[in-house]
């Protein structure tokens, strides 16, 4: 049975993020299609077939198939699944975090009813997002007068939707089982990201191709529904996963104690509260954690930093070295034969060199995701989080100015993001050392530093929004949406001569455009990123000083 009220309230609470996220993506699809329309796509036909299949491009590629493949199958799928994860993890664990679950369950309704109603609204929201993408996918070719003959757009949208629901229900099930929203969102995102990487890299390695089937993203990434239509087998695998998660969620929520306002209590806090650990670590360090706002803020986000850092270090850093070495020699030779201009044109990296491989796998997407994730999370919670938790009044009863609070929080965000950047550097250098790739440490450091600056830039934007509004979700969603739009802008506009100049308006342009892994630090670009970061921090100080604090 469904509870209409719970269902409707959840929809009302969450529709904005879904609408904005999908609309951004839809608009970027229009932009990408416009970019592809202006280039001579006959260059694709000159590429070897193995290369084309690696890039998920059909041999008889046309503008439409390139645009759908490039925008929807990676960014579209990640965004929709990410939004589904946000909705799914908040379903019941979110009510526990805000302490409203007791009130909700004081009504004569069962827990199973509540979680199922929440699941239904999450599914509807995700469907709504998919419909927006479908509209964008249908309308854009009409606007641009591009033929979509042979493209199965409905099949593509169906695959996107089922894939997103898989991760949404995974987050929902973990949240229902544990009551921990952060854990649910984090674990589901990790499963998604690790799967995305594994499904991309493992098939390139001889003898390891089938291992990719262990990762759920494989059943999305290797369907190409826009070309082949609905792949019933792959959809069945993902749907079976959804059914399993529903069962786990319903059983999970009924078997446990409900939690009450457990914001921020992490596994590490429990470890630290353990008497044995306390004796080992001693009071001294225990006190150090609360020595200042900066240190305490850092300690509040240690779990996220550790998870992000571990993924980047082990998977995207260390593991990529041996992966590169294990890549089939044919692939390397084939990539070697390609002229570099051609690669640049089709947006691929020269995967035959270690630098190109690391750039494609680690730096182009994952490193910015990692640094933006930590910086935006901290920037969003820094000020608005204390207001939402109603601790800001108490904090500001201490003899410290609002300016100092903003600056100390900024310092904490900077330190943690730099930490993640340093871990990326260490991981890549470690991978290079293990497989004896001989990558240049200064260049890796420069690229890691640029990734860190990029993260800090969006962290600072989030901080300014959080300083101005006192609202965590609004700040984080807005700046992450902005980051996504600017990323896509930099990825697709350079394809078109008319639009290429506009890419300079994206901060991502100042990250990898000058090939820092090979060419070293582009100091001018670094300076642009620093300048773009300082402005929102100054704005945050000014905005936070002049505003009434929220009362939670």
């Amino acid at each position: 049975m469904m509870l209409v009220e719970v269902f409707a309230k959840t929809l009302v609470d969450r529709w904005r993020a879904m609408t904005i996220g999908s609309m951004v993506l839809g608009l970027m699809f229009l932009g990408a299609m416009a970019a592809y329309r202006t280039i001579d796509i006959s260059v694709y036909t000159s590429l070897p077939e193995a290369m084309l299949s690696m890039m998920n491009v059909p041999a008889d590629a046309d503008v439409a198939s390139l645009a759908y493949g490039a925008v929807f199958t990676t960014y579209g799928a990640l965004t929709l699944a990410g939004l589904a994860i946000a909705a799914g993890s908040a379903a019941i664990a979110g009510e526990e975090r805000s302490g409203t679950i007791g009130l909700l369950l004081a009504n004569p309704i069962s827990r199973a009813n509540v979680v199922m109603s929440k699941a239904a609204s999450m599914a509807l929201l995700t469907t709504f997002g998919a419909v927006i993408l479908w509209v964008a996918g249908r309308v854009s070719p009409l606007i641009l007068d591009v033929s979509t003959a042979g493209i199965h757009i409905e099949a593509l949208i169906l695959h996107l939707l089922i894939n997103a629901l898989f991760y949404g229900f995974l987050a929902w099930a973990i949240g229902a089982w544990t009551g921990r929203r952060g854990l649910a969102a984090g674990m589901s995102s990790a499963v998604m990201i690790i799967g995305l990487v594994a499904a991309g890299v493992l098939p390139l390695i001889k003898g390891w191709e089938d291992l990719a089937r262990l990762f759920p993203w494989y059943y999305f990434a290797h369907s190409s529904p826009q070309l082949n239509g609905v792949d019933v087998g792959h959809l069945a695998v993902l749907t079976a996963g959804v059914v399993g998660f529903v069962a786990i969620g319903i059983v999970g929520v009924d078997r446990r104690d409900l939690r009450d306002r457990t914001a921020g209590v992490s596994l590490l806090d429990r470890v630290r509260a353990n008497p044995l650990v306390q004796r080992l670590v001693g009071r001294r360090l225990g006190r150090a954690w609360v020595s200042s706002i900066t240190v305490k803020t850092m300690s509040d986000h240690q779990i996220l930093a550790i998870v992000v850092g571990a993924v980047m270090f082990l998977l995207m850093g260390l593991a990529m070295g041996p992966m590169y070495s294990a890549m089939s020699t044919e692939l390397l030779e084939m990539a070697d034969t390609l002229p570099e201009e051609l690669l640049a044109l089709v947006g691929g990296e020269d995967m035959s060199t270690p630098e190109g491989f690391y750039q494609a796998e680690t730096f182009s997407m994952m490193a910015p995701i990692a640094t933006i994730a930590i910086a935006a999370a901290m920037g969003g919670r820094a000020l608005a989080g204390e207001e939402a938790d109603r601790t800001m009044g108490l904090l500001l009863a201490s003899p410290i100015s609002r300016t100092r609070v903003v600056l100390e929080k900024t310092l904490a965000m900077t330190a943690m993001t730099v930490g993640v950047g340093a871990v990326i550097f260490a991981g890549v250098m470690g991978g290079s050392w293990i497989s004896d790739l001989g990558m240049n440490a200064a260049n890796v450091a420069a690229t890691s530093a640029l990734a860190t600056l990029l993260g800090l830039l969006f962290g600072a934007v989030t901080l300014a929004l959080s300083a101005a509004t006192g609202r965590v979700a609004l700040s984080v969603y807005t700046s992450v949406g902005l980051a996504l739009a600017l990323y896509l802008m930099n990825a697709f506009f350079p394809l078109s001569d008319q639009l290429a100049g506009w890419a300079r308006w994206s901060p991502f342009y100042y990250y990898l455009t000058d090939n820092p892994l090979v060419a070293g630090m582009p100091w001018g670009h670094g300076a642009v990123l620093v300048a773009l970061t300082v402005v929102p921090v100054l704005a945050a100080v000014a905005l936070f000083n002049r505003r009434d604090l929220r009362q939670g």
Binding site: S292, D300, L394, L396
Partner: protein, 321 residues
């Protein structure tokens, strides 16, 4: 060094509007050093808005405020060196122990006398080594109180401090507030409970619908305090026995019970008890704040003769509320 002659808190025409809601209207009040000042009002009257405004959490629409002679906005940081604050509806970091929370805030103040913290914890019977999320709301409130008292502030601002405390702890808190005042320091106590304010405060400001409607010493307020006194007799009593006793407002008889609304001296009332009907029980309770307000004050804060309180005044008062 701040002299003892400056006011602990002084506001002039302090006004705060939220969009079109007038949360605080033209508040002018002076709180002297060394007193416990009770700030009394029903829920939503503007007590918390006043506190948040003078502490620079929110900014006044108009008007001025000083704490210990310092401007509440421009010298906010200096003020907070002298301040202890317990917010309403207290929220603390759930993942910390009380000890680490207090250490954190002590560090932000540049250190406090830790033996005093231990002493406070002992008085309030508070276990500092448990995580805050595992504490009951009353025990969390105690941690908030320790936090407010621990730096021996010149001014202690507390918003509904006895929320969640049991009666024994409420008494202990009242003793602690009196001790603060006895040392020449100041307590600004916001509360909706008349009894609590009467027990501990020297002076009382009554706020209603954003306006200060009365400023009295507790002694004066107490003299006005309307009480309901219920007598229980062995046999149904003679309802006219209190006729003519000064301060008797209303008498209702119900079988063996007699309920009297009364604001005179008890002596006169007891002297009026006569005849052979045996008195079994007397119980009295304070009239609630609204009743006092309706009986004694109009919206403009002017004093009313209680005897003339009637339905028309009541209607006026409600129009203000």
């Amino acid at each position: 060094m701040i002299g003892h002659d400056v006011a602990a808190i002084k506001t002039e025409g302090l006004t705060k509007h939220y969009d079109d809601v007038k949360a605080l209207i033209d508040l002018t009040v002076t709180v002297d050093q060394g007193e416990v000042f009770g700030f009394l009002g029903p829920n939503g009257a503007g007590k918390t808005t006043t506190i948040r405004t003078i502490l620079d959490e929110i900014r006044p629409t108009s008007g001025l405020a000083w704490i210990l002679g310092m401007d509440c906005h421009d010298q906010s940081v200096e003020i907070r060196h002298q301040l202890g604050y317990l917010p309403a509806d207290l929220a603390l970091y759930p993942n910390m122990t009380a000890r680490s929370l207090l250490t954190y805030f002590a560090n932000l103040r540049g250190g406090v006398d830790w033996t005093y913290v231990e002493e406070l914890a002992e008085r309030l019977d508070s276990d500092l080594d448990r995580r805050l999320e595992d504490l009951s709301s009353g025990n969390r409130q105690k941690v908030g109180l320790i936090q407010a008292f621990m730096n021996r502030p010149r001014l202690l601002v507390m918003d509904e401090p006895s929320a969640g405390l049991d009666p024994i702890m409420q008494r202990e808190l009242q003793t602690m507030m009196r001790e603060v005042a006895a040392e020449g320091r100041t307590v600004f106590l916001s509360s909706h409970a008349l009894g609590e304010v009467q027990r501990v405060a020297d002076r009382v400001g009554i706020i209603r619908a954003g306006r200060l409607v009365a400023l009295e010493t507790v002694a004066d307020l107490r003299a006005k305090a309307l009480r309901r006194i219920e007598f229980t007799f062995e046999r149904p009593p003679d309802a006219s026995m209190f006729n003519g006793v000064p301060g008797v407002r209303d008498v209702t008889a119900d079988n063996r019970h007699l309920v009297v609304s009364f604001d005179g001296t008890m002596q006169a009332l007891l002297a009026a008890l006569h005849d052979g009907n045996r008195l079994i029980d007397i119980s009295t309770e304070d009239a609630d704040l609204d009743e006092i307000f309706l009986t004694y004050y109009r919206g403009d804060g002017a004093h009313r003769d209680p005897a003339r309180s009637n339905e028309r005044d009541r209607a006026e008062a409600e129009a203000v509320g």
